[in-house]
Symmetry: C4
């Protein structure tokens, strides 16, 4: 954060620009989640009927809440990484693009989860959802791999300890998501509850 | 606004970043409201038929206008709070995230209100809508509670009087919304008119 | 642009913030226009059938192009006004909010125009569309009225001549849109062609 | 990047503003691509049924990935051009507006490609898609033509060599897209594979 000279400022501007674009994708993805949620009444239109229909919307609302938290945590994690980047090279651009591509498509597994949560297709929906977040963790891991492989891509005042810690955090995140993914094959609800436990850990300790 | 040193600037940057992300969610939520509004013609396609169909769209347009004003006022209120924040801690992050999650889902109660305004399910629709804004007021109250509980989270040149006044404003906002929510159980139209009166008060006096 | 002191900078920041939010609404409204445009094939799926279906999409594409240009010109006009604002008062906030509410809903008249351009309901669709842009012109006129009524709301280095010129431009814009609206009652296609002529004038001379 | 005086800063601010708006359109267009992707189950709801339905979604996912990469590369190219612009004149505004209009409508050819990739209408879908990106290349070429035709529109420290190189790059991009468009008339799959080869070239060499 102590730019040595003009060109250093230029590098920071480029990094900021990519981060701003990424922020936009996170922001729109998180807000677009809500687009699918609406209520239709089949049969008679009455207060009791609408109340009933609204109460039956809880699975899609739960899926919305889960995805909102997931994307928000991903955004915080993304910002944490970019704070350490000094300049973007093409490997960072590509892995970041891959991550954004996955983030922008989060509404798809979210909808699927919400729609099939109370059906016989629950297991497939949860496997798809948790598997999707394994891919996102993987993209995060690749982004950090792309950035940490060359010393000049990171800001100067970063310590070796900080790099190691970030590597460990990214690995833990990936492993947690793989475990949740694995659990979803045996017990879908347990996988969703594990996600929740992971968030609490993430928010309280990280 | 008179940063003492470098790290103070850093804190302000972090606060600004969260505010910019929040602004994005408010901005997209408010614009997405319009997505559902369209007109379909069943039967013969004629000038008189389309005129009729467009005129019958007033309930969804009214719901759109009400929500647009509500979200815009919430945005102004949100900005008013963030101007007083010096740094975000995890409690601010969580309560702000909760608030954004609710704001992003405003299109759902809006659609419900517009669709059932002229039906026998009016009361349920208005209860759902006004209840939803009680939740938003509550999230605002929690955000301010999270920020005002520690002195170092607020900017230095804020006075004890300003803090008290903000607390009072947030409480009044919450109480007003609870009253409107309560009224909607007895008379849905009165609740909607009360909302309108509250805005005028809000815009003229606050 | 030559801020006298700290609080002047503060005022400019507030103005910029409202402008950034407004930019967001313009930007999202203009991009959301595309959401409705898609192609469906009824009957046999063949190259000839899809070519035919795509070619028959020209009315909605024309409506998209017309609205894109309208919103883009409105954005440029909005920026032109805000460059002259020194500080936002509540009258500016309200009239700007009204303008944004109308801009965010542009997809509605656009869809209607595209859907009924080749039907017997053409006249109603064009009247609705051109009438909607009369409302937008009116909101612009009100925004400028709110800003120009007090000297301290405008930046210091603005000349009386610039104020007069802006007032004249806003009046001309409003009158043009009223004329187009009037023409649409007699000849809808003439009204659309007049819109086009107005843009060329606007882009070349203003 | 070494502004000579106040008015130079003012010009840069105007350029930045248009770039920020354009970024917004790119960002929203890229994220909106995902909106159409969802899964419906006809018939029995089971794990096997949902797995099957999800696996059959690969054509729309492929179309999504192709368009995401295309728009992201267009965004990088757009930024590359704007870094060289010193001030926007009306020709730059118009050609940039044309480019944004096309970018915002990318979801339309994307949907069409995804929907008809495995049908007998494949060739028409690919021709429409590749033809659409010829138009985008053309808009880029026009934007660069508008900017490079006058010396004062470009920043001062740009060399004649950089201008020539950009002209060549824009020409190559246009020619590549025309070739892919031409190939799609004979072999649609070869055209899609050629797109992919072009990206690899673009990312690795440019």
């Amino acid at each position: 954060m102590e730019p040595a000279n003009r060109s250093e400022i230029q590098l920071q501007k480029e990094t900021l620009r990519i981060e701003t674009f990424s922020d936009g994708v996170f922001c729109i993805a998180v807000t677009l989640l809500s687009i699918e949620i609406g209520v239709e009444l089949h049969g008679e239109v009455s207060n009791a009927g609408l109340t009933d229909a609204l109460l039956h919307k809880w699975p899609i609302c739960l899926a919305y809440v889960i995805s909102f938290i997931n994307v928000l945590l991903a955004w915080i994690g993304h910002h944490g990484l970019f704070k350490m980047f000094r300049q973007p090279d093409s490997a960072i651009m590509i892995t970041n693009g891959l991550l954004l591509m996955l983030v922008a498509l989060v509404p798809f597994p979210t909808k699927t989860l919400g729609e099939f949560l109370l059906t016989d297709a629950l297991k497939t929906a949860v496997i798809f959802y948790t598997g999707y977040f394994v891919l996102i963790s993987l993209a995060f891991r690749l982004l950090w791999f792309a950035a940490s492989r060359k010393k000049e891509l990171l800001i100067h005042d970063i310590t070796a300890k900080q790099v190691r810690q970030t590597t460990r955090n990214e690995n833990i995140g990936l492993i947690c998501n793989v475990i949740i993914f694995g659990v979803s094959f045996f017990n879908p609800w347990a996988a969703l509850i594990l996600s929740f436990v992971m968030w609490v850990y993430w928010i309280v300790f990280a």
